[in-house]
């Protein structure tokens, strides 16, 4: 009996490997190449894992953009298909996909997470594969022109808003909370340490932290009067709640958050303690643009009525729209014989692009940095309201 079962297990494993290789062959053709009859765009995103709350909406937005393009006749009459790759917020997984795609892909989209993008970037640069992902400006300089950011540079925007907020409110001592597993946030810590005179230090908030109480106490012991939330929504909201409930702040105005902390989840978890806190977003949730309104309605319909608050939604939509404009402008053929030439042309075009019509008005890239508005918001009566810092 044992022998039979052992043989069954061995056969199952062997057949799974053989089936795997068959799928691998299929994968190579599907994810990498651009078929004559269909533009297959591989897009990496953290669809599952700790940042799936932004990864899934990002893929949704890419699919939505492809759907809209196809309704309007595709790219030069050829339909677009998004081929999603789930990185699970794991750089190793991201690298695995990039190596699978690097021989055949004309363009690779994503990922939403900075650590995965940083891992991918050097391969993309060496193989001259154009990519739009989550990058800070130092990476954009290093790997130009092959990578572009799908949103503004959070390192710069964080610093600008922080200085503005500290000056406007007259705060003197700042403590920052950040996720150590996010390379962009770790880079922001370095920048704050160098350029914010009132900076006292940083408190690590690992992604997935359940109890943020000890972290809040750690920050309170540093004697700050202002707190910067550089972590993601779920952790940021818990830290905010702890700071307010423990009396570290007199009002929410003493707390300011980066864009990735902003979202419906922040208001839900932090509740009334979020009142008065500041943040900025890479998109305007209430943008009156017709395309955005339509996207917003479709998103709500697919997401139990939740509003599209996460920047990758706009970023991934714009990415696919930009590809259409690029392919049509350059007359991209998708012919494997001219793969390298077309990759180069796409990269150059995207890196310093003309104005493109996105879902919230026009946008463009200058040296890979997306030129887009980042409105400052404050929580007022349980809602985000666009404000100017005074």
């Amino acid at each position: 009996m044992k022998k039979v079962l052992a043989i069954v297990i061995a056969v199952m494993m062997l057949s799974s490997l053989m089936a795997g290789f068959a799928f691998a062959a299929e994968d190579g053709a599907e994810g990498g190449a651009v078929a004559v009859t269909e533009w297959e765009i591989p897009v990496l995103s953290a669809i599952t894992g700790p940042v799936s709350f932004v990864g899934e909406p990002a893929i949704w937005a890419a699919n939505y953009a492809a759907e809209k393009i196809n309704e309007a006749g595709g790219i030069e009459g050829v339909p677009v298909k998004i081929v999603p790759y789930d990185t699970e917020f794991d750089p190793q997984k991201g690298m695995q996909y990039i190596t699978q795609l690097q021989d055949t892909a004309l363009f690779i989209g994503g990922c939403v997470a900075a650590p995965v993008c940083e891992a991918e970037a050097q391969v993309l640069y060496e193989e001259h594969i154009p990519n739009i992902g989550s990058y800070v400006s130092s990476a954009l300089d290093e790997y130009a022109p092959y990578i572009c950011a799908y949103m503004g540079d959070s390192e710069i925007l964080d610093l600008e808003l922080c200085k503005e907020w500290m000056a406007a409110k007259g705060y003197e001592k700042l403590v920052m909370f950040y996720s150590p597993d996010d390379t962009a946030q770790a880079a922001t810590v370095d920048r704050f340490a160098q350029e914010v005179p009132e900076y006292l230090g940083a408190v690590e908030v690992p992604t997935g932290t359940i109890d943020c109480g000890p972290l809040a106490v750690q920050a309170m012991n540093m004697g700050a009067d202002a707190f910067w939330l550089g972590c993601r929504t779920e952790e940021a909201s818990k830290v905010c709640k702890e700071l307010v409930e423990r009396g570290a702040v007199e009002s929410g105005e003493q707390i300011c958050a980066t864009f990735s902390a902003m979202g419906a989840g922040f208001l839900e978890i932090a509740g009334e303690t979020a009142e008065g806190t500041y943040a900025y977003n890479m998109l305007d949730v209430n943008c009156p643009d017709e395309t955005w309104q339509e996207l917003s309605e479709a998103y709500k319909a697919d997401h139990n009525g939740d509003a599209p608050t996460y920047p990758p939604i706009q970023g991934f939509y714009n990415m696919i729209v930009a590809l259409k404009a690029c392919f049509e402008d350059l007359g991209i053929t998708g012919d494997p014989a001219v793969l390298q030439e077309e990759r180069e042309a796409i990269a150059e075009w995207l890196n310093n692009s003309p104005e493109i019509e996105g879902c919230q008005g026009t946008f463009s890239w200058v040296n890979g940095v997306m030129q887009i508005e980042a409105p400052v918001v404050q929580v007022q009566d349980g809602n985000y309201v666009v404000v100017t810092m005074e």
Partner: protein, 290 residues
């Protein structure tokens, strides 16, 4: 060879090397979980030397071997005085310690990781060469006096001592050599993935290694050659839906194999049968020739 296949082959070789690293202490009857700790040290050594000083692949491998020897030897002196669950738990703690240390070393990239590790175009072939060299070394090692001493310790440490085996010395040798395998695995891993983070060398990685060891067979070095590509192909070549379930599949297989075939898929008996088969084949041929 496509880039994807090259990546897969190299990663599988990394796993085989690290699993061999984990196998050596098992051979000596030690529940040692420190292989991933030395793997991190080997990986960071190779990555740092490649990035900062531009050292070539083979020099980085040599450096990884040296650091593996040093960082394997030092804790081995302590582990030689422990056994059983104490060794298992305290060696596991090494993983968390090394993660915390690396996170706080700026020149290793801290939490942002170490990027910019040089590309080695012939990496899969180099990895295969390393695999053959280390495989042959391990085979000789297991069939040497040291290997037999380890087996004696695993069977009955007190009896081994009575027979004149210096158990402490043998334990130190086992853990040090195990660390060399893991460090080299880490170095090859760093060149393959080209960006390493403290978090990469985690408890999950250890679980993958242990699953491959137990499923393949923990009494021979050959089992992992089957289990590593089979198990890792689930993570790479299976459809997305199956890949997501890989942890469950790993856990399920581990339970099934441990319950039904405690020695793993490749057993000592199986290896002996294969050896005898070939011996018989050659003898028969020799007789026919005569």
């Amino acid at each position: 060879m496509s880039s994807g296949l090259a990546y897969f082959i190299t990663l599988v070789i990394v796993y085989i090397l690290v699993v061999w690293g984990a196998l050596i202490p098992f051979r000596a009857g030690l529940l040692y979980n420190g292989t991933v700790y030395v793997m991190a040290i080997g990986g960071y050594t190779a990555g740092f030397l490649s990035k900062t000083f531009g050292l070539n692949f083979w020099l980085c491998i040599i450096a990884a071997i040296i650091t593996g020897l040093i960082f394997g030897f030092i804790p081995a002196l302590g582990f030689a005085r422990t056994n059983g669950i104490v060794t298992a738990i305290s060696s596991m703690a090494l993983i968390f310690i090394i993660q915390s240390i690396i996170k706080n070393i700026d020149f290793l990239g801290g939490t942002r990781g170490l990027r910019g590790i040089a590309k080695v175009p012939a990496l899969p072939w180099f990895a295969i060469i390393i695999l053959i060299i280390f495989g042959a070394f391990l085979y000789r090692l297991f069939n040497s006096r040291i290997g037999r001493a380890w087996e004696a310790i695993a069977t009955d440490p007190q009896m081994a001592q009575t027979l004149g085996v210096d158990t402490r010395k043998m334990t130190v040798i086992a853990l040090t050599l195990s660390s060399v395998f893991a460090a080299v695995g880490g170095a090859v891993f760093a060149f393959n993935i080209r960006v390493i983070y403290p978090g990469t060398f985690s408890f999950t990685f250890l679980l993958n290694v242990m699953t491959m060891l137990f499923v393949g067979g923990r009494f021979t070095q050959w089992g992992v050659i089957i289990s590593a590509p089979l198990l890792w192909s689930i993570n790479v070549y299976m459809p997305e839906a199956v890949q997501k379930l890989s942890n469950y599949i790993f856990a399920g297989l581990l339970i099934i194999v441990l319950m039904l075939r405690p020695e793993g898929l490749v057993t000592r008996k199986m290896i002996l049968s294969v050896k005898n088969f070939f011996k018989g084949l050659f003898k028969k041929k020799a007789r026919e020739t005569v």
